[in-house]
Symmetry: C2
Subunit: 209 residues, 2 copies
């Protein structure tokens, strides 16, 4: 499981609760202010813990805490998108998923947590890159399954390589979020997703009844 | 011109040279260590200037300096890509451009400067978002011109909206760079660009002679 990969020394239920409180506080700060502006002091203040407590659970400090937040936010994104991702087997389902992604990213605006974290956290080094690469793979695999199901249902181009197409879709979302973070506009996210779905889905597929 | 948008108080040639030295030092630090890890102290040390000098040229500090670096790096990217962007009017030219983008991003690895900066700088607020939105628009416009030229040459699908397709291509590159920064791999950049070009270019176009 992702959430425990970077768990540090958590021996008791109370310890686990404190660790969780620190991670939730960091996630909330990052959502409100962004990764760059969030300091460990902010996280201590918000979680009601001291620096020494924080370093007990996160001996490698900021990098390790950001990884834990990434895992938390990734879990939330997969929980949110799960119902849509699991049912990706028709043109209608892809349209719903596309609308959900655009709406979610637009509503969360410049602090779309997972987009920010995937972009920031991987830069810390090989350990962080392993975690973000896992997230990208997990996300891509879920989309690949949807592409294969839609191909099997006769509503997606069977000539497309499902895994490579899934990689392009993940990249489109990540790029759209990146432009959203930079410019405040979700137009590129929409254009890129529509472009992918236009290529993926068969225009002349029969309507489902 | 972009380079002068955030120029601060530069009254003399010597002042302009000092300002430029600070910006180049910041750009070099960011290329080597990333935006997150670069401090104003690092920039002062590398450029041989003092903090008070730095704040003379960049009264708004870190944000303003990052904007200046973004403009510098954007100018370099457009200088590098200019010859390829200007000639985008055939399938062969798109293939060359695609290879150049992938090679450049792969070689620069996790510190691809413009990708990093577009992702980071826009988060500082409306002023920074204006600069990054301008860069995205300029880049998208160059690609749109190429799409239109390729459509006119009969080698790209004439049914595609050139501007919206250009938005999708820009988003694919930005997403590919974002995943490269997070995971260290350029595979997603390649997959996303190939997916865009597969949709854009006509497979049965006559070979150029």
């Amino acid at each position: 499981m992702y959430r425990q990969v970077q768990s540090g020394g958590v021996a008791t239920a109370k310890g686990a609760a404190t660790r969780r409180r620190i991670v939730e506080a960091a996630a909330a700060e990052i959502r409100e202010r962004g990764t760059l502006a969030t300091t460990l002091d902010d996280v201590c203040r918000r979680s009601g813990t001291g620096k020494s407590q924080l370093f007990h659970y996160f001996p490698r400090g900021r990098e390790q805490l950001l990884l834990a937040v990434t895992e938390l936010e990734a879990g939330r994104v997969f929980d949110d998108q799960g119902p849509y991702l699991d049912g990706l087997d028709s043109r209608a389902a892809w349209a719903d998923w596309r609308d959900t992604v655009v709406r979610t990213c637009r509503d969360r605006g410049p602090h779309c947590p997972l987009g920010v974290l995937i972009a920031d956290v991987g830069r810390y080094g090989p350990a962080a890159q392993t975690v973000t690469a896992q997230l990208v793979r997990r996300w891509q695999a879920a989309i690949r399954v949807g592409i294969e199901a839609t191909q099997a249902a006769g509503e997606a181009d069977p000539a497309l390589d499902a895994d490579r197409t899934a990689a392009a879709v993940v990249t489109a979302v990540q790029g759209g979020v990146s432009v959203l973070l930079s410019t405040g506009s979700a137009d590129h996210l929409e254009a890129a997703l529509d472009f992918c779905l236009d290529r993926l889905l068969l225009a002349d597929a029969p309507e489902r009844t």
